[in-house]
Amino acid sequence: MSAAGIAHCKRLASLFAEPQKLDVLSVTEWDTLIRIARRGNTLGKLAECAQHTTLNTALPGAIGNTLQSALTLSHRQERAIRWEIQCLRDALADADIPLVLLKGAAYLARGIPAAKGRLYSDVDILVPLERISDAESSLMKAGWASTHHDAYDQRYYREWMHEIPPMKHWRRGTVVDVHHRILPRTAQYDPDPKRMLAAADPVGDMPGVFTLSAIDMLLHSATHLFHEGELPNGFRDLLDIDALYRRLAALPDFPASLHTRAKELELTEPLALALRYAHRLLGTPSDKPAGSTPRQKMLDWMYLRALHPHHPLLDTAGAPAARLGLYIRAHWLRMPPHLLARHLGRKAWMRLFPEPDPQLEKKEGP
């Protein structure tokens, strides 16, 4: 990303942190800001922030309309996720499995600022490995069905991954990702899900609903983002990390407690990356990133070209190469080389000669 691109990211983050700064934007600045925020799936966040400024009513009609639209959509999502949480809790209660929420749904349940105006694609939950088939059948009884019917996909998920194939509700069309681990079984790092589950916190006003502990939420968010192969929501996820970090910063033994926990769970590497780029792109008040090994330089080159909203105003010539590099890196971390070769070979073959599958979601035709 260009220096101007980094400036745009920092600017957006600082506006989220201090909404009163929105008061002085010109119409043209709003135009650019809205475009970038929309592309980064963070327009709802911007609209939430604008609500808390004094000049909301003074905004030119079209800008106010755009923010109103984003607010309407984010309220709808919030309603839908709250409803989904209740449905999931009731379904799992059937098998006496507590509902442990991950990522977006957890931030929402906890009322963390990162959740305000956030867009969600699905709900992620964590279930102990030994209860996974009970959870699956309880969810099936309540209307969720597995989405990947292809034998290869089933095996990919069940033998190698950290989650079972996504389950989709037959009526609402909502998707739940049921995880039993933090990272794939085949991955290089091996954080113990039992430790995270043991530290899970009940949500005060939602009986039967849990989230990871505050520190584990940050570690999970970091781990997830820095093992991700495609980063369409990379910027949003980095904002989550920023918000989670700022929230913890008030604790007395912070950040020592964070680093101790990261060591326990073997997640120091993704944490270091998360804080490095949150600091550089968003100005997160973490320690100044250190280290300039060739490997670190390579990662910087890639991540600083891929973590911003994928908007033409911010993209540089190297962006496609950086994204390809990160795609390969993610798979490298995910699987040992022989499995990786097999898996990518299969994916390439399926791209050339796809088997029609009516269950797969089609891209909209015009």
Partner: protein, 308 residues
């Protein structure tokens, strides 16, 4: 290369200036409550905009645009063999690429997509909207129901065109906003309209699109001039073409009319309670019909009758 005034009708631009504004991405087009900023190097896009949007307002480099869109060829070898174009909004391509000769049709579909998937400040229906003064008739219907044919013929018969695809309704005031963009005609309806209205201004039909052959009918200048004037919904009418009938209207009970609006809404679920309140108030403030028709004259006569 600037406009004489900050805003001017598109017809006042020379072809060269239009082309230059489009390729520099400075071309702002106002349509109803929205401003689109469009970038394209496709000649077919410039030609069709000049032909079909002459009475619309153009802004050079608008300070704010609701949607920044582009129609461009990807930088691949394929551009020399069978050139394709992508529609993008802020770099995001919601559709697969299409052959370059469909570039303008794709822009039209893309503009509809921008509104339908982003303008949740409104209740959005898949419907044609026409008006006499500020009294509007909203025609929600599934594709293939003869909605566009009826919409085009009414437009050419003195009705003001607000939209052939999208009813853009303010959930608080229940006013419906217009766009006065070209009517998208498909397959047999192109011939029907051409034979009936030989003077109607249409672009050259584009064959082999996903929707068959399509052609765009230019909105009458009087409709385009009033593109920013909303109207009140007085009638809801869902048309259904049936060659065996002349014209057979059936009044709809309010609960069925409400169902019809909800079924044809793009974002009823997004608006939640406000969507329900708006839709039910619209139903209580208007009369609703199903109109099966095989004869356009009879359908026009019946609709005119309702106005009295």
């Amino acid at each position: 290369m600037t406009l004489a005034a900050p805003e001017a009708p598109l017809s006042s631009l020379t072809p060269d200036r239009l082309k230059a504004l489009l390729s520099a991405g400075r071309f702002g087009l106002k349509t109803g409550p929205f401003t689109f900023r469009i970038r394209s190097n496709e000649a077919i896009v410039a030609q069709n905009l000049a032909l079909l949007y002459g009475a619309h307002t153009v802004v050079d480099t608008p300070a704010f645009a609701d949607f920044h869109v582009s129609i461009d060829r990807p930088a691949s070898l394929r551009r020399w063999l069978s050139p394709q174009v992508y529609f993008r909004m802020d770099g995001y391509a919601p559709f697969y690429s299409l052959p370059a000769q469909q570039a303008f049709a794709m822009l039209e579909w893309g503009m509809n997509w921008c509104i339908a998937s982003n303008a949740h400040q409104y209740l959005l229906l898949h419907a044609a909207v026409l008006a006499k003064d500020d009294q509007a008739i909203v025609m929600p219907a599934a594709p293939g129901s003869g909605k566009s044919t009826l919409c085009a013929s009414l437009t050419l018969n003195g009705w003001r065109l607000l939209s052939d695809e999208l009813a853009i309704i303010d959930p608080q005031t229940r006013e419906v906003h217009g766009l006065a963009r070209p009517v998208n005609l498909k397959n047999a309806s192109i011939d029907v309209i051409q034979k009936r209205y030989p003077q109607a201004l249409m672009n050259a039909p584009i064959p082999d699109t996903k929707k068959g052959t399509v052609s765009h009918l230019c909105p009458p200048p009087s409709s385009a001039a009033q593109h920013q004037k909303p109207a009140h919904i007085r009638w809801i009418m869902t048309p259904r073409y049936n060659a065996a009938l002349s014209c057979s209207p059936t009044e709809l009970a309010p609960r069925n009319a409400l169902g019809l609006l909800i079924e044809n809404a793009f974002n009823y679920d997004v608006l939640g309670e406000n969507g329900f309140l708006a839709a039910s108030r619209i139903v209580s403030e208007s009369r609703a019909f199903t109109l099966e028709y095989g004869n356009l004259d009879a359908a026009h006569a019946w609709i005119a009758e309702q106005l009295k």
